[in-house]
Symmetry: D3
Subunit: 168 residues, 6 copies
């Protein structure tokens, strides 16, 4: 078993917000992705809106940006970080929509959770806005795809590696 520690738990296994006061303040960036799978009917309405007024996507985009700023209020042990950039992209294909969120900060810890939260809340918002058409939509494949900055440096999700979770 790994020697890596669960840094959110102290020596007695209790939760705490870890001390980052001795870490360097550096530029940090993270990108996360996710997907909402949906019926042809829901997708058609989503695309139709996209073409005409874009409100489903526009609403999900803003929900994701605003949620990124609330991350430390949602995830109990996250540090509050001043985000210097949040941007989301949405790509539709023939069975749903893929979401990507990129977040930047200059701080003592990274913004992985902000990117993951932005994607999750954008996906939930798409579900909310289309659920009258398709209640069986599913949110899948939320994962960190890129991270840079800080002591651990660059991380890139490698989809063709054997995936430990076996779901992709």
């Amino acid at each position: 078993m790994s020697d890596k520690k669960l840094t959110h738990l102290d020596d007695q296994g209790n939760a705490h917000m870890v001390d980052v006061s001795s870490k360097d303040v550096t530029a940090r960036t993270a990108t996360a992705q996710g997907r909402v799978g949906m019926s042809a009917d829901a997708l058609s309405q989503l695309k139709d809106q996209t073409a005409k007024k874009g409100d489903v996507i526009a609403t999900a985009r803003l929900a994701g940006i605003m949620a990124a700023k609330k991350t430390a209020d949602l995830i109990p042990l996250c540090h509050q970080l001043p985000l210097s950039k949040v941007a989301l992209t949405f790509d539709t294909d023939d069975s749903g929509v893929s979401i990507s969120a990129t977040v930047k900060t200059t701080a003592q810890t990274g913004v992985e959770m902000e990117a993951m939260t932005a994607v999750s809340v954008a996906a939930l918002t798409i579900y909310d806005m289309l659920k009258a058409v398709d209640r069986a939509m599913q949110i899948t494949d939320i994962r960190l795809t890129h991270k840079d900055g800080g002591k651990s440096g660059l991380y890139t999700f490698a989809p063709d590696m054997p995936n430990p979770a076996g779901t992709d």
Copy 2:
């Protein structure tokens, strides 16, 4: 294409918080599920904690409960609903942990989004607490599995139906 309307958009396609003032106040319940897939190493640490002190799961559980209460603050067009119950369960298997959240209200609209949000934030919290061990964890299969109450009545997710999103 379906005649079902996207109720979050008005006749001009603009977003609004839909008028539910003429709907009946009834008991409503919703259950959503989701899953965090992870490496054997992360799972081992999760289970170990579960056996010893349960803090990863306990933290995710509280994060999910508290997030359910914030749903209307996260999802732009959700109504604020007074929740009468929120409960989450967690089940580990050999490749990750499955999360289920059940939410109840007595109100003019349902609590699907509250259940979906509880599961999503609980999953994000598990990711946050284990990411030092496994950054490649994935959050998958977030979906509404049960809904009751209101005019539309009972809904149950049917996993052996052809899945429109093709990811499950």
Copy 3:
């Protein structure tokens, strides 16, 4: 001087959240309006966006809806009310954009502040999104234009009455 009491102050002049527990639960609605005056340049960019993608207006609309739900968190003595509808409209003319917000509830007190707050935050959002083009924009004429329900019944703003504030 009027005998009307400032209901937010008790007999000693101290602030309190007034007791509405003996008031009837009734359907209540309120509409507020406001305006953002801007340069031709800013207006041109606003309209151009409206025509193409509508993001300035779409963002302001969502900000207004979400702010209506936060009213009791912003205005110290407001009661928390479950809103059953929030909708905003935007109309551009040759010197700016007029905003109208309509809010409904079924509760023991009214939603005037929710409508006023929705308009104010939508106006602030327009300012934020266009301030790179015109810092001299002004937000004006925020007022309650319609209110119904509750003991005091119907109220309508009468613009041709002598206006006490002299700005309209």
Copy 4:
């Protein structure tokens, strides 16, 4: 038409929280003003309270200060900024009360929206506390009057310049 870009929209016109990570961290200050016009009756009660206990103004002042800290939660594309000072002043004349808010930060972007938000929420709070006496009060003339720091340097609202919005 101006070449100035709407920085809150990317090249495709989509909303994003703009990247400020390469901007300098400098001391920044902003002052905004606004006004609540009201009837003689409302004004008399406001002044009377001011003389005796000041609770209407004291409540509005705190609401403005607290709202400044919530700006990034209200205005979708605002960055979260650590405010180093927030102060409001209130001046009554014969037809209402004028509000001024000054906000400071040391950060990569300015605090115009924090000052504008502080004034707006203070004005809404005055409306809320006096609306039992005068529902026809109006909030007007919310504008940025002073801004300093950052690359664009000093800005001062010039009231005797031809006003593009034509309302002052």
Copy 5:
């Protein structure tokens, strides 16, 4: 040992927000008290302010009222309740200030935590505003003094009963 159950824990000892959906909607009220002990110097400045402008007390009062509305956001397993009244009183004696908060609702569960939270945050605010003068202030004796409504009916704190905590 008591047979009374810890209702916030389910049969397996896990936290959940308990199901109140089958409880009656009734009028409920709760009063809590607390105290901030302080030096003669701090007390003198507090009283002086009270006489002149009352801002320390006025600020603490508003902080308490606003905190009551945030109770469900602070206390993880609290239900969200629409408060119909919140009022605080402050009494100074020769060694500090006593705080009392009364809260009302018409709901399926009581407002004890809202009253306790209002007192606590009012006390913290007094500490914050006077800490430049006296860092050794102490917040003590926060307790529920009165509760009515719901199935359990009237409860009154009896100070001359043997106190189980031995601190009063």
Copy 6:
């Protein structure tokens, strides 16, 4: 009477968020303590839970951590500070549980209120979770015990000094 100024009030006695922009950014730490006194029955259930699953303490711990991050939202004149560490400890004795919270930041002002708030909300959460067993619990002795960093340097609460508030 002391010459020390109440820094939260300006020269006219009005509340403001004081200007800290000229203060040094330094490492700062603060520790606060508090206590929940309770009946033998409540204590027995608390300890039993602690031994078995720890959920009462685990819930209070997370509530305290999350509340520390909300301090500036609760205490009207507090500055928003990016916390670099939050940790709580709980110790039971024969009449209750003692709580200690330590908070760190690197900023222009200290984290006393964050530590005091963490203790207070943890104590309120313990009250909430055990109130079904003992409504007469009391929260006492909330005080700052240690503070370091900034211009005023080290402060330590000295319990055997004559206590100005006379309650300890």
